[in-house]
Amino acid sequence: MSARASRREALFGGLCLCCLPARGFAAEPLRLKEVGPGIFVRRGPHEEATPENGDAIANIGFVIGRDGVLVTETGGSLADGQRLRAEIRKRTDKPIRHVVLSHVHPDHCFGAAAFAEDAPNVIGHHALRPALESRGAYYRKRLEEILGPGRAGEVVYPTQSVTGGAEIDLGDRRLRLTAHGTAHTSCDLSMLDTESGLLFPADLLFVNRVPSLDGSLIGWLKEIEALKGLGAGRAVPGHGPAIVDVAPALADLTRYLSALRDETRKAIAADIPIEAAVGTVAQSERERWVLFETYHGRNVTQAYKELEWE
């Protein structure tokens, strides 16, 4: 049943939309983990966006500093962002000064509208604005087809554009932002808590959930080296456990992406067409990742498109 049909039925039934059982996720409080002093993370499940999960599928959270709060990732829908904001308000009444948009994908971006009343500094990669201008409306339409009209949230644009790097000072802690070259997407921004050495690589790091390639395979492998150079021991990945050891997690990711690169190159060299390559490339990775079946073929398609011009 489509979201549209369920809305119609709801209206015929005289129910208000917000009381629908499918919206139950919005009423439940988030379960947060304090991964460092004043650093809270909600772990997203390894699922695709559904009416039931409200696209609350990414790892999102916030950092409480002396002078205010920084939102590390906003969530996948307006409701997801609202729940995150409610959790912040349970813990502190300090102003929400900064909201980080780690990249263009909806499961990370659409919670931003929930922070409109805080008038925060919205931080994004310099390529995020054009990416949102190009895809925002498209993503919103697609998301509302799943969640129902008005339930995605407005597209929020960054007010602070990061080229190279930037630093955010919360009074007692400084957060260092890095704008990466095209990798997972064209606009990946990572963040390092300089005090604790905790890294927020966002979707530059997938753990357990199969990575999704929407930027450049070669670029991603290069940016993994850049992440290693930041010297962080622990990280909050964009998908996966709330906190992980950086080295083994990056090693797993590198193994997947390297297999994807090497075997796609081999397929191209052997004149194996793209439609056959999707079923043969990097199959050794199949058992190692959740949602492999759903995303891997598409990753091969992306890789093939990128590498066939080498």
Partner: protein, 271 residues
Amino acid sequence: MKNTLLLALGLTLSAAAINGPAGAAGASDGDAERQARWDEIAKSIFGARKIEPTDTLIQIDAPARALDAALVPITLTMPDKGRIKGVHFVIDDNPSPYAAHFRFGPAADPGELRLRVRINNYTNVHAVAELTDGRLVEATKFVKASGGCSAPMGMSDEEAMRGMGDMKMKFAESQPGKPLEATLMIRHPNFSGMQMNQVTRDYTPARYIQTVSVTYGGQTVFDLDGDISIASNPVINFALNPAGKGPITVAATDNQGGRWEHSFTAPSPSN
């Protein structure tokens, strides 16, 4: 996968994964509606000419559900290749359904043809072969995909147009007397006219490869009329008649006056 959306990856994948009437225009159409649409399209292309169904003269291989609606690989097989004069490929529910028309010349081996297309809706695709005796025969296949024509490119128009008109040709290992398989790659965004420009937030005007002419030693391999349904950076796999020799030339034009020509050398068969 019912009623779910692969938003984490976003873009065209999400479109391909939607499995409900809300997400996929054309998904709920009945057979009669689909037939009526095809009849109308067929009439506009072929007039009153009769088109006979075939299971043998032309076959379509396409994914039942596209992994990427903006890049759907299509293979057309024509085993009785001596009888094939040309092929028309139609994506019934695309905004501009007539995707491609290939006319083969004496230097072609028209046994197999592969191309990559955009698919915007759940749709039937049709391949109509024109036979040497003047008859038309058709094969059809249903493909689930959506949003392939409107999906943003994921880069700026300037980036997408970088190197426009560059070409590559790759050859499979050839054997004497066997058709020589070739892959033609053309750098071109093939803007569909349905993709939004990032800066102006206006639609990027359609700019697509309109014609491709391939010759081998001065003889025609094929002439192609293309359209907005061809995927960006078009890739076409075809085969050359083993009797041919000499340089392979490719001349391509787009609908905005772009014109590019490249020449390639076929490898000599290894004995």
